[in-house]
């Protein structure tokens, strides 16, 4: 991929979905925000105002990082060693407990429900033994549903039956943001459409198909 101008870091706007940028525009490496190189960023702040600003920035960082790397599901115990939480250049890392705090915050109302514990809401909260894995909703299922619906509309595939595999891996969806999507996330996003009455899912376990209205 060509690296255009050293673009500013992909600031993520958590307020809502927006059209996916063309993949070619993505820089080859993830640009970390300025705070990433700021040592106090890795210590949870006790002061309320500072703390909420810190959590907000961490949340934004996690979302944009996951978006860049197309990560839908984050296993915390593995993630703490990735560059996301570990800045090797300044020898600082966010500790696992603090990662949990951040994720918990993201999963709550304050964080805009931008994360969700994989094994059920809130269960992972108390877990210390590394069980915690989270969905990182850099796009929530509802938002994915909108994106997919828009794409279907655009490509005139209304009334066409598509398999889930086609949707996420097929050649037709190549270049779309949801290409290569986690099947479970896809399932949930389609369920949203079903609820809205805009799609219907049928078929067996592996051979599921979806029809858009």
């Amino acid at each position: 991929m060509s690296s255009k101008s050293p673009a500013p870091r992909p600031a993520f706007d958590p307020s809502g979905p927006r059209p996916a940028p063309p993949p070619s525009a993505l820089p080859s490496t993830f640009n970390f925000p300025r705070e990433y190189a700021y040592p106090p960023f890795y210590s949870l702040q006790p002061t309320l105002l500072t703390r909420s600003a810190q959590l907000r920035k961490w949340s934004a960082l996690i979302q944009s990082y996951c978006r860049f790397h197309r990560i839908y599901r984050l296993s915390l115990i593995d993630a703490v060693d990735t560059p996301l939480f570990h800045n090797a250049s300044i020898k600082k890392r966010l500790r696992l407990e603090d990662v949990r705090v951040v994720v918990t915050w993201m999963a709550g109302e304050e964080g805009g429900w931008r994360a969700e514990w994989v094994d059920g809401g809130g269960v992972g909260k108390g877990k210390i033994d590394g069980g915690g894995a989270v969905w990182v909703w850099w796009r929530r299922p509802e938002e994915w549903a909108d994106v997919i619906a828009a794409w279907v509309e655009e490509t005139g595939q209304r009334g066409v039956v598509l398999t889930l595999w086609e949707l996420s891996q097929g050649a037709g969806s190549k270049g779309q943001e949801f290409h290569g999507m986690d099947p479970e996330v896809l399932q949930r996003s389609l369920n949203v459409l079903v609820k809205r009455g805009k799609a219907q899912i049928f078929g067996e376990e592996d051979e599921q198909g979806v029809k858009f209205f």
Partner: protein, 651 residues
């Protein structure tokens, strides 16, 4: 000029002159000029020092404070408590040189002024009090006075009825002013009798002319020595059957003029008097019989005949005692006195610097001094100095008298020792060593009057004392400690400065410190989140501290950190520890920690916890600006210049 203005310290206490010693302090004191109250000076502190007697007003200390130099005081008199009249101490000024009959002039002046005087309570027109002192002159200057004089049956003091008093309309309900000396109200019958006798001819009044002064004095003394009740029984007229007063405790019907119940001793307040007292909340004492001067602004140039200090809450006896001592010692004479002569047993060998100066001033050259030079000379000088110190100390401690006499030398010596003591790190420690300089600054419990509010007086005096100590520019305690210091440290320094005597208990100290705010002193006590109490300048705020901290952190953007760091210090500067802050601002570690946390809570700083400890950084987390903004508000050019300077080692 008898009255002198008082220079007050920051803590609103009289500024002591060199060599002046504070002897006594008493609160709730009122000031009289002549026999009239000065209206603006009725509630204040009386400070007795070795040189002066000062009145410092409580409400408006800067405006209404005066001092009287004891050297201008001719004599002083003490009046014991007399019925409702508070104990008083009168100070008579020395007659001014040149005027032939000063007392006469004064009396005439005061008589004239007396026309402008009125009774303090407008509700009760009262007799214009006359004192035995200006009685003769008054009579001579205004012979045709038509006012009615009545003689108090209790103390035989002649009192005058107000000119408005009309015998024909007077009834039981007419309020009558009490006797100006003893405060006991006359009965109506008595007043009427006096009025009639005056009206029928001035001859009738003659037999009841007041006794001469010595007689009155002796009478007063006997009166005060007798117990009040017996006295009253002996001299009071037969009970007035019409207006007996029921004791609230035992229901015994007492004579209305009795202050205490005859049977059970409960204090009685006569019915009409009670109302007056309840109305007047500010002064919590029985109505004072003394008249107040009205429409008369206080004037420093007035030379009063005499002044009186009225002690409403006690303390009079000790004040009198110490005044007596001060008048005997006459410390003011010593101000320029030559040093105390001392045995000069080692003529050529042991002269100290004082002696040398004296001798050189006398024109006598030091004998063999100049002859010995080099190391031998230095050694000789050291030896001489030690010898001399020994002599001074020996003389001083021989007995107490000698110590007092050579106090100056000893203090000077102690100061020298203090300076020679090994350099210690903390400035506070240096202050400790200067304890000798603080010998004169003690407020001790025994210097204060005993009164109902004696504890509060002690605390407020202590509070002022500490505030003075803190703000004293010469010592600069607070400044050296970076403008802030913990209360515990201050307590230690202060107690050490007292030289190990009259130490202050921590509770008293804390209480005194808490009074700063109420007394409007220039220091304040501040409590940190975790309960640490610190002392600060009054005008020093958190914002100023934060600005100070941020300035410092800004500097760290420019000067490279001492050791290599991994982050871009040009962007973020670097984190600081409490130790560094303490070092930089001269704070103690505890204070530094608290200040940093305060700034953190404020949002100006944020923390970095690591294995190396806690560091505080400029807060970039709450900064909403994104990558566009690089570092600080300094424009790049300045930055480059400064950096060059840093490189050249000029910064």
């Amino acid at each position: 000029m008898f009255f002198q203005p008082v220079e007050l310290t920051t803590a609103l206490r009289p500024l002591l002159l060199p060599d002046e010693i504070l002897l006594f302090v008493q609160d709730a004191v009122g000031l009289y000029e002549g026999k009239y109250k000065i209206p603006s000076m009725q509630d204040g502190h009386a400070y007795l020092t070795s040189h002066r007697a000062c009145y410092v007003d409580k409400a408006e200390p800067r405006k209404n404070s005066v001092a009287v130099e004891l050297k201008n005081v001719d004599k002083y008199e003490f009046y014991a408590r007399f019925l409702k009249s508070s104990p008083k101490i009168s100070l008579y000024p020395k007659p001014t040189r040149g005027s032939v009959a000063p007392s006469r002039n004064h009396s005439a002046a005061s008589t004239q002024r007396a026309q402008a005087y009125l009774r303090s309570s407008a509700a009760s027109p009262s007799p214009r009090g006359t004192s035995p002192f200006d009685q003769p002159s008054q009579r001579s200057s205004s012979p045709g006075t038509s006012s009615v004089t009545w003689i108090c049956q209790i103390c035989a003091q002649p009192n005058q009825l107000p000119p408005r008093f009309d015998a024909s309309t007077a009834s039981v309900h007419t309020s009558l002013a009490p006797c100006s000396t003893c405060g006991v109200k006359p009965s109506l019958a008595q007043i009427l009798k006096a009025a009639i006798s005056t009206a029928s001819g001035r001859q009738a009044a003659k037999p009841t002319e007041p006794p001469s002064q010595p007689l009155l004095e002796s009478h007063r003394q006997t009166l005060s020595s007798l117990s009040g009740e017996e006295k009253l029984l002996a001299s009071a007229s037969p009970p007035n059957t019409g207006s007996s007063f029921q004791c609230p405790r035992c229901t015994f019907l007492n004579h209305p003029s009795l202050p205490n119940c005859e049977l059970c001793g409960a204090s009685l307040v006569s019915i009409d008097l009670k109302g007056q007292i309840e109305d007047d909340d500010t002064i919590q004492r029985p109505e004072s019989p003394g008249p107040t001067m009205v429409n008369q602004s206080f004037d420093f140039n007035d030379d009063p005949e005499y002044i009186k200090l009225s002690f409403r809450c006690g303390g009079d006896k000790i004040f009198h005692e110490r005044l007596k001592g001060a008048m005997l010692q006459r410390k003011w004479l010593l101000q320029n006195a030559p040093p105390v002569p001392r045995p000069d047993q080692s003529l050529g060998r042991a002269p100290d610097h004082v002696h040398n100066q004296n001798r050189q001033a006398d024109g006598t050259p030091p004998l063999e001094r100049s002859k010995i030079v080099g190391i031998a000379g230095l050694e000789r000088r050291g030896l001489e100095l030690r010898k001399n110190n020994e002599v001074v100390l020996n003389n001083a401690f021989e007995d107490l008298e000698a110590l007092m006499a050579s106090a100056k030398d000893v203090v000077a010596l102690a100061e020298q020792f203090a300076k020679k003591a090994p350099e210690s790190g903390s400035e506070a420690a240096d202050a400790l060593l200067e304890s000798a300089t603080a010998l004169g600054m003690v407020t001790t419990k025994d210097m204060l009057g005993s009164s109902a509010g004696s504890e509060t007086l002690y605390l407020s005096e202590l509070s002022r004392n500490v505030a003075e100590y803190l703000t004293d520019d010469a010592k600069g305690i607070l400044r050296k400690e970076g403008g802030i210091m913990s209360l515990v440290d201050l307590w230690a320094v202060f107690n050490r400065a007292r030289g190990g005597v009259e130490l202050i208990s921590p509770t008293d100290f804390e209480k005194a410190a808490r009074l700063w705010g109420r007394l409007n002193l220039p220091v304040r006590l501040r409590q940190f989140k975790n309960g640490l109490l610190v002392v600060q300048r009054h005008d020093w705020t958190d914002d100023k501290t934060i600005a100070q901290l941020l300035d410092w952190l800004q500097e760290l953007h420019i000067s490279p950190p001492s050791s290599e760091v991994f982050w871009s210090w040009e962007t973020f500067g670097r984190g600081v520890t409490a130790q560094e802050a303490a070092q930089r601002f001269g704070w103690s570690i505890g204070v530094a920690t608290e200040e940093l946390e305060m700034a953190e809570e404020n949002g100006a700083l944020c923390r970095e916890e690591s294995v190396e400890g806690l560091r505080f950084w400029e807060n970039w987390i709450t900064e909403e600006g994104d990558t566009g903004k690089t570092t600080l508000d300094i424009d790049p050019e300045t930055l480059a210049v400064t950096r060059n300077l840093v490189d050249l080692g000029l910064w």
